[in-house]
Amino acid sequence: MFSNRLFNIVVPIVSVLLGLIVGAIIMLFFGYNPIEGYLALWNGAFGNMYFFGETIRQTIPLILTGLAVAFAFRTGLFNIGAEGQVFVGWVSAVWVGISFDLPAIIHLPLAILVAAFAGALWGFIPGFLKATRGVHEVIVTIMLNYTALYSSNYLIRNVLSEGGDRTEPIAETASLRTAWLSETFGYSQVHWGFVVAILMAVLMWFLLEKTTYGYELRAVGFNEHAANYAGISVKKSIIVSMMISGAFAGIAGAMEGLGTFRYIYTHASFTNLGFDGIAVALLGANTALGSSLAALLFGSLKVGSLRMPPLSGVPSELVEIVIAVIIFFVASSYLIRWVTLRLKKGEK
């Protein structure tokens, strides 16, 4: 028999392959050369240090929003609101970044912490309403996404700048970028956020798997009734879980505000980081390590896809389809399981 652990690795790998194959078929069908297309994709993601740096840069917030969604999922909650939490985190981080004059050793951590706090606050609302009023977290988080988008635009224009479309850049002391790192990666936007992201992934793993809090949250996630019976406060767990989830997404916003952009601009629409986080978490089986790897995959596909049209003529939307197919197959892992079992049987 296939062991479960092995299977957990086989499914994503097979899914990625199937996704790429479907992509190749589409390219062939529309008269493109799939090899050229994928070569452009590969080069666009890993072709040289510059693109590799960009891939890392894109991966950083995806890891964090992935962790946010995964964390909530693990405790039985669906956080569609990472999108909004990214905004509030981003705004807050930039606010700290531009309004304080502090040594880097305090400034940077403070900015990240405030972003985490803001995200947590944004997660608190649906958590609290779910725990106390039984309001479905999905609607509340959807509504809060829009609220966050429009409110942060308002703040940018009226509080953080004087009617401008973006804030001034944050102080160097709050920046995650360093010249050395950028230079190493061919002047890309890569920043030290990847350390933060990895730390957060480790933190999530530790928190969930190794601590009593994690034990409680997992118990609530699997079986609310049993957790309640065991004396665990389900309400508290729901609220705490949404807050931690929100904090991760808030930090994702901080990565944009302190690393990638170092300011915030008014957004005409969502960043999609939060929505992509859902896919990342699901592809990563809602684990910290899995989400990190899935984020890397998404990050490289997204960054790589930018080079597809100029280098191979293939519209970059193809990558969107490929990602969707990958997710589809991961979701339908039963199919892969069934086929592998069939193959096994056939061998005998």
Binding site: R133, M143, P315
Partner: protein, 319 residues
């Protein structure tokens, strides 16, 4: 402004804003009532909008003023077919339905824009020349007060949406099919032991949700944006999903929720011309619909009970 005047100027806007949401939310109700979570509504709307617009562009000359209606039909068919992907994953392949829905959303926008590029050589289509127009219903619009509110300057599609909601309610609560569909969403095994084909019902429900969301997306495209691009459908599917939950998985509830969203939305626009709101920063009006929804949920709507088997794949013989 008098309250009546206000309502008269708002109602047509409420109706036209709500129509796409009503269609789509009804789709969500069918799907979720049968036990299949459908967060792919957004993607299905995208496909509907895409199909509606491309058909309209291609056949406006052939069908003339009939084109928008045919576009809706085509959108329903195409999105219905597209939704089979979700059905296969969620029902036959026992996929995590949320994941599959996310895949639907990404796939739809990918395919929609990819094909637009392939067919039109650009990321956004031209404007259609046979869209829907608002109409004034001859006799009814002369009724005092009501006539101006509901029968002047509205789209036929808004009436169709309301009609569909009533039909959906009728189907779900008065017909054998509805009874069976709801039983499948509550207790699939009970349905199964009663000889109901759970798989078939769920497929039908998901395809219905695809068709309705397709109509919803096409309605949006044919009444508001009049063209298709990556940004045509941006979040309406999620609002429809919210309407499903807000409306407690009931067709008329979902319609009510959609109308509520429309109401809040138009209030935030009409409200700008109120003298006493003139000094309020616009942002408060813009976020008002969303905040109002949250407050409404927290305040008096409260706990909503999802169909018991919602999101749970049915595996024959498991307990």
């Amino acid at each position: 402004m008098q309250i009546i005047d206000l309502l008269q100027s708002m109602m047509p806007m409420v109706l036209f804003y709500s129509a796409p949401l009503i269609f789509t939310a009804l789709g969500g109700v069918f799907s979720e009532r049968s036990g299949v979570v459908n967060i792919g509504l957004e993607g299905l709307m995208v496909i509907g909008a895409f199909a509606g617009i491309t058909f309209n562009l291609g056949f406006a000359d052939t069908f003339g003023s009939l084109t928008p209606w045919l576009s809706l039909v085509v959108a329903a068919i195409v999105a219905g077919i597209f939704s089979i992907i979700h059905a296969v994953a969620a029902v036959s392949l026992r996929a995590d339905q949320v994941v599959s829905g996310v895949a639907i959303n990404m796939m739809a926008i990918g395919i929609g824009v990819f094909l637009t590029r392939e067919w039109y050589g650009k990321g956004q289509t031209d404007s259609i020349i046979e869209p829907f127009y608002t109409r004034t219903i001859p006799v009814l619009s002369d009724i005092p007060i009501i006539g101006d509110m509901f029968f002047r300057g509205t789209y036929y599609t808004s009436y169709v949406a309301i009609g569909f909601a009533i039909i959906a309610w009728f189907v779900l609560y008065k017909t054998p099919f509805g009874l069976q569909l709801r039983s499948v969403g509550e207790h699939p095994m009970a349905a199964d032991t009663n000889g109901i084909n759970v798989t078939k019902i769920r497929y039908i429900a998901v395809i219905l949700s695809g068709m309705l969301a397709g109509i919803g997306g096409a309605t949006y495209a044919l009444t508001i944006s009049l063209s298709f691009g990556a940004a045509t459908i941006s979040g309406q599917g999620f609002m429809a999903l919210a309407a499903v939950i807000f409306g407690k998985w009931h067709p008329l509830g979902a319609m009510g929720a959609a109308v509520f969203f429309g109401f809040a939305q138009s209030l935030s626009i009409v409200g700008r011309s109120f003298p006493f709101l003139q000094n309020v920063p616009t942002v408060y009006l813009i976020i008002a619909p969303y905040v109002l929804t949250i407050l409404a949920l927290a305040g008096f709507i409260g706990r909503a009970e999802a169909p018991k088997a919602n999101g749970v794949p049915y595996i024959k013989g498991s307990r």
